[in-house]
């Protein structure tokens, strides 16, 4: 239970510091809202009928907004000088990674729920019959891209052009997650047979597992000085 306690402590710390200002959540939600609106102007009215494209817009809003939150998770530590303190704690690097991941994942999920709600209104999508499969896809997809983002956030934390580097590193690697999530969401929203989602589901699960495994093996090296 030592592990869970340490994990909880770090997550709680991040949660409390965010709760005081609510800055990150607010800006993430505002940004995703803006993305949804801008895409509507970019593509015009024909959108209302093409579920696949709408799924894409939803995920663009999720990912771009999530990225702003991700950039914060380690750079905040670095700016306040608390990164050294965190490394010196008697916790394994994997615990730090997992704690950061869960923290970002939770914040991103909150943002996604709010964004999703706005999305169903703006784009007139019926979602109630599909909530469970949608929830699963969004869970797996979010886990995928937040894991990628957390690792690269740690890598770029000490770099010069931090957020640019994070984006450059992030996008090529998250291509499979984005493709799979968008396609799966599109299939579900169009009301097609759920079996069609399975291959994409497999890709998402494979990606998440491989990525978490690689993070486990290599995170210690990222924190080394």
């Amino acid at each position: 239970m030592q592990f869970a306690q340490k994990l909880g402590a770090i997550i709680w710390k991040d949660f409390i510091s965010e709760f005081r200002t609510k800055e990150m959540i607010l800006s993430m939600c505002l940004f995703s809202f803006l993305v949804l609106i801008i895409f509507n102007f970019a593509f015009g009215l024909s959108l209302k009928f093409d579920r696949g494209m709408i799924a894409g817009i939803l995920w663009v809003a999720f990912v771009f907004s999530g990225l702003t939150g991700l950039g914060r998770s380690f750079s905040m530590e670095r700016d306040r000088g608390t990164l050294q303190g965190l490394i010196l704690c008697p916790v394994s690097p994997w615990t730090i990674f997992l704690a950061k991941l869960i923290g970002v994942f939770l914040f991103t999920t909150v943002m996604e729920i709010i964004t999703f709600f706005i999305f169903t209104i703006l784009y007139n999508t019926t979602v109630l019959p599909f909530l469970v499969p949608l929830g699963l896809i969004i869970f797996l997809g979010t886990l995928g891209f937040t894991a990628v983002g957390t690792i690269f956030s740690a890598i770029s934390a000490t770099a010069k052009a931090r957020s640019v580097l994070l984006s450059i590193l992030f996008f090529p690697i998250s291509v499979p997650v984005i493709i799979a999530s968008v396609k799966a969401t599109g299939i579900i929203l169009s009301g097609n047979a759920l079996q069609m989602v399975f291959p994409w589901l497999k890709i998402l699960v494979a990606f998440d597992l491989i990525f978490l495994l690689v993070s486990y093996l290599t995170f210690a090296y990222i924190l080394e000085e």
Partner: protein, 230 residues
């Protein structure tokens, strides 16, 4: 260093000769393809370059693992140089691909899984070089190695997801099923070997350059040390 240096010149000469031989087989020995015409010959560059681009990144992958395991800077040098050489070949693939596609299918870019994965690969390794520039020197090797590993592992997953997304690559290049005549196969093999030699020559040249840079750093440190004494 001395011994490999004396082997280098004959190796480079051999590369040059093999390239000339390859060009001969492409333009004179191999017949012109019926349906695609003369532009089909671009394929003799495109395929070996693609194989070598992926090989280069595999080398980076292995070198990154060895670096994290052994912490020997030589592996970091190999990883870095392989990325550069790989980007050159990857660029060649991405340029010859569309030039080949345009006269045949009348589109510059097809979102075909192989070519698109190669595009993502290109971005991944450009990102690797950007990473090396942006981070502090003491962490550079570690972070590059981690990214080198992640980047390469991402390739098969990306390929499968894009393939699931769509497919239109010509059948002639499918794994071992080469729908080509004998002289064409021979030309391909010759060109392939010539490019392999070229790849090795370029990689070794780049590594040598990097070693020279490190050598200069060492010499400068010695010089500073001696000046300090005086």
């Amino acid at each position: 260093m001395k011994r490999t240096q004396t082997l280098l010149i004959p190796f480079q000469l051999l590369t040059y000769v093999l390239m000339l031989l390859a060009l001969y087989t492409i333009f004179i020995y191999a017949p012109v393809e019926k349906t695609m015409g003369v532009t089909q010959k671009i394929f003799y560059i495109h395929v070996p370059a693609a194989f070598l681009a992926y090989l280069a990144f595999f080398i980076t992958f292995m070198a990154s693992i060895f670096y994290l395991y052994r912490k020997d800077p030589k592996w970091d040098t190999v990883a870095h140089c392989a990325v550069e050489t790989g980007i050159i070949f990857c660029t060649i693939v991405l340029i010859t691909g569309p030039i080949w596609a345009k006269p045949i299918w009348n589109v510059w870019w097809t979102w075909d899984p192989r070519l698109t994965t190669t595009l993502i690969l290109w971005f991944t390794y450009v990102a690797y070089l950007m990473l090396r520039r942006a981070v502090k020197v003491n962490q550079r090797a570690n972070l590059s190695a981690v990214f080198g590993i992640i980047g390469f592992l991402n390739v098969p997953i990306t390929f499968f997801s894009i393939r699931l997304w769509r497919t239109i690559h010509p059948v002639v290049i499918t794994s071992r099923g080469l729908n080509m005549s004998e002289p064409m196969k021979l030309s391909l093999i010759t060109t392939f070997i010539a490019f392999c030699f070229l790849f090795i020559a370029m990689l070794i040249g780049r590594i040598r350059l990097e070693r020279s840079k490190m050598h200069i750093e060492e010499l400068k440190e010695i010089m500073d040390g001696m000046n300090f004494k005086n």
